[in-house]
């Protein structure tokens, strides 16, 4: 029996198309996996289902009746609950208060404590979690326990369709096992679950059927038993990858631009050593949270390093003395993985954002020459193909891809000799990606050094000369691309300790 059906759902945000024709059918008592890359539209789809966003087109039905929620309250009334990637509990209130939030049994506004206890115990009973007592503050619970509370909240609201958005992303292995047991129990009680993940093995373990989302469209659906992992990967990635990456002559010079030795910045980064040569693109693969980002931040001086040394253009210095102004003056440039949080100042103009690291190019005695600033920015915008009306527009008015080009334009304007790029193409459209690859390749051709951190393996294989893998805070030696296969990179990323017991772990961590 179909409990939830989506047909041709579409949604755009300004210039970006998040969803463009999604069909999905959820049956009673099944766990349905929704798989797709980052940016494929999974989270947008969940928000539409949960009533936080409205689709621009398409229809939905719940148990045969039309469903068009205008707010999360509508969704709850129809029995749909969303369990967020970042949990949405109120940390200062107790477990009971969180479970019953919005459903408190009350008479004339007075909380009926006895009924509240009964009601929350009734749902909590299913889980036998020792840490969870009704009067404990949620802030004192572990992440896994909080997730149980969140699920209890869904059950207390009598949800029979539960949407789980990457529920295991912050869990330890034992907790994952518990969660899966819990999901199976829910399933046997006739509750239907949409389970979002990009860990294929995990999906195989828990889900019955799947739908693959790619670039905002549902591209395939079926039973998991009838499809192989590589078929799924093809469906997830299945885009013309051939012409996405520029062809480049891979012949880096011997001259070392940046030498990093024994760098550590606990707790995330244990050890990293590498050489970045002129004209080289060095890729860093690894799982999220493996210490990749921390390594780049420690090099640039944004996070304090504990030990290690750098050598930039032959000059050596200690890692813990590193700071952004110092590294900028040494010709290092940094592109953050968190564009809105750290990369770009949304209310400032494109011109200010582009020239921020090197105002000296368009100023004298501390005074800006605004027309020079404008001209220089226009030149960069043309160079990167930025779509905008003029350089004085606030960065906020641009699409994500164009904002990212502005951040990259800043590094070019700074004339950085060593580019530290952390996820340079995350969450942007394919057209912008191709242009950014083009610019990165040109930088390498100009004998600059590029360090590129990425979760997206095709990108690393398409662009890099050498790849090193970060695993549990340790960086493997860099090897040429020809010596790696994607499977080897993944194995290195999870530490290579393969035992039968780690099957779940391994699967969870494979970010394809």
């Amino acid at each position: 029996m179909t409990v939830l059906a989506l047909s041709d759902i579409a949604r755009r945000f300004g210039p970006t198309i998040a969803l463009d024709g999604v069909n999905l059918e959820l049956r009673r008592g099944e766990v349905h996996a929704l798989i797709g890359e980052n940016g494929a539209g999974k989270s947008t789809l969940m928000n539409i289902l949960a009533g936080s966003l409205q689709p621009d087109r398409g229809t939905m039905s719940v148990k045969g009746q039309a469903y068009s929620p205008t707010s999360p309250v509508d969704a709850r009334e129809r029995g749909i609950a969303l369990i967020h990637q970042e949990l949405s509990l109120v940390p200062h209130l107790t477990v009971m208060e969180n479970i019953l939030m919005g459903l408190e049994p009350a008479r004339w506004g007075w909380l009926n404590r006895e009924a509240a206890r009964r009601k929350s115990l009734a749902v909590l009973e299913n889980f036998h979690h020792p840490d969870i007592r009704l009067d404990r503050r949620v802030a004192d619970l572990s992440i896994a326990a909080r997730q149980v509370v969140e699920i209890c909240r869904a059950l207390a609201a009598q949800a029979d369709i539960i949407l789980m958005d990457e529920p295991t992303s912050s869990l330890q292995r034992d907790d994952v096992t518990h969660l899966f047991a819990l999901i199976r129990r829910l399933r046997s009680n006739g509750i239907s679950i949409i389970y979002i993940s990009h860990f294929l093995e995990e999906v195989r373990e828990i889900a019955d059927r799947y739908t693959v989302l790619r670039d905002g469209q549902s591209v395939s659906t079926g039973a998991l038993a009838s499809v192989t992992n590589s078929e799924l990967i093809v469906q997830m990635v299945g885009r013309p990858v051939d012409n996405l990456f520029p062809t480049r002559v891979r012949s880096p010079a011997d001259r070392v631009l940046l030498r990093v030795r024994d760098l550590s910045a606990p707790p995330h980064l244990q050890h990293a050593s590498f050489d970045l040569r002129a004209g080289e693109i060095l890729g860093v693969a690894g799982l999220m949270g493996s210490g990749r980002t921390e390594m780049v931040r420690a090099i640039f001086g944004l996070d304090p390093a504990q030990s290690g040394t750098f050598q930039v253009r032959g000059k050596a210095f200690k890692a813990h003395g590193s700071s952004p102004p110092l590294q900028l003056s040494q010709g290092l440039g940094y592109l953050s993985e968190d564009r809105k949080g750290e990369g770009i100042a949304l209310s400032l103009s494109i011109a200010d954002n582009t020239t921020m690291t090197r105002f000296s190019s368009c100023s004298r005695w501390g005074w800006l020459d605004r027309s020079a600033q404008r001209k220089q920015t226009e030149a960069r915008m043309r160079q990167l193909g930025v779509k905008a009306r003029n350089p004085l527009q606030p960065a906020r008015a641009l699409s994500g891809g164009n904002q990212q080009k502005i951040v990259l334009a800043r590094l070019l304007h700074q004339d950085a000799n060593v580019l530290l790029l952390d996820e340079p193409t995350r969450g942007i459209d394919i057209g912008s990606k191709a242009q950014i690859y083009e610019v990165i390749a040109r930088c390498a051709a100009e004998q600059k050094g590029v360090l590129m951190v990425s979760s997206y393996l095709p990108e690393l294989f398409g662009m890099c000369d050498r790849i090193a893998v970060m695993s549990r805070g340790r960086l493997t030696p860099a090897r040429t691309v020809a010596e790696w296969t994607p499977e080897m990179v993944m194995l290195a990323a999870i530490g290579g300790e393969e035992t039968p017991g780690t099957a779940v772990d391994l699967g969870r961590q494979l970010r394809v």
Partner: protein, 333 residues
Amino acid sequence: MVAETKTERESTRSTFQNVWLARLGPFIGLFLVIAVFALLTESPARYLSPFNLRIVLAQTVTVALGAIGMTMIIVSGGIDLSVGSSIALSGVVTALMLRAGYPPIVSVVTGMFVGGLVGFVNGTVITRLRVVPFIATLGMLGIARGAAKWIAGQQTVNVPQTWVNELAVTFPTPSWLLLAPGVWIALLLSIMTAVILRNTIFGRHVFALGSNEAAALACGIPVRRLKVWIYSLAGLYFGLAGVTQMSRLRQGDPTVAVGAELDVIAAVVIGGGTLSGGEGSILGSMIGALIMAFLRNGCQQMGWPNYIQEIIIGGIIVIAVAIDRFRHSRSQT
């Protein structure tokens, strides 16, 4: 592709409108306030007379000087609640210096530097002790007020007759000045600061800091030092505001300007500054200060009681910010 460029163009057009709405908004507000009172009053000629204009401008000097400093702080994403106390403290110090027989210029400059010192302490507490600006300056509000009362011996400090007393008078001598010297000083300083915020690296760093502190840090801007500078420079303006306040009263009063910080913040916010930082302009803040001054003056002309003024100004602040939010929500879709 065609669709994308089209929406891109649409969004740029709406940004363009928004920019103009933001720039013109305070002017329209000022015009409306003046027009409404001109129509309400029985003698519009008197309300709109140069005579009345002089009164309004002379009354605005203190708030306007404070608003220049506050604009820098608010644009950088900070806040300063100690303005009123800082005004009282620097006024008292200036008055004590004058009474002790120091030359007027030395007394005035010292008064300014007392304000600057208060700002420096605020900036240092915020950056070194990592106390959020709201709390750090809330503490300073009490400390500076207490210090002012202490050094003044809990009394007003009378000052001898010098040119300092003429800074904010309605009828200046020589009469060819037309407006009080303080008005000209405020005008000059506001133009200067506006140009600095717009055209210097320091100014762009202030905006970058308020717009996105993490990005400013990643771009190598010395964020801590910059903050100390901003609070110290703004403190100089608050110190000067204290001097003009003393000049109007012709005595140093340690209990004066209680709540002045709220007037100053209101001027900046009415003028388009946002408390989350990254936005605001000196011109807007000056218009904001004028809007409040014309409102006060208009209410007085109408013979309305003080509480009516308070209610109206409260309402104007909320409306100004609501319009600003509306503009933002439109530009973000």
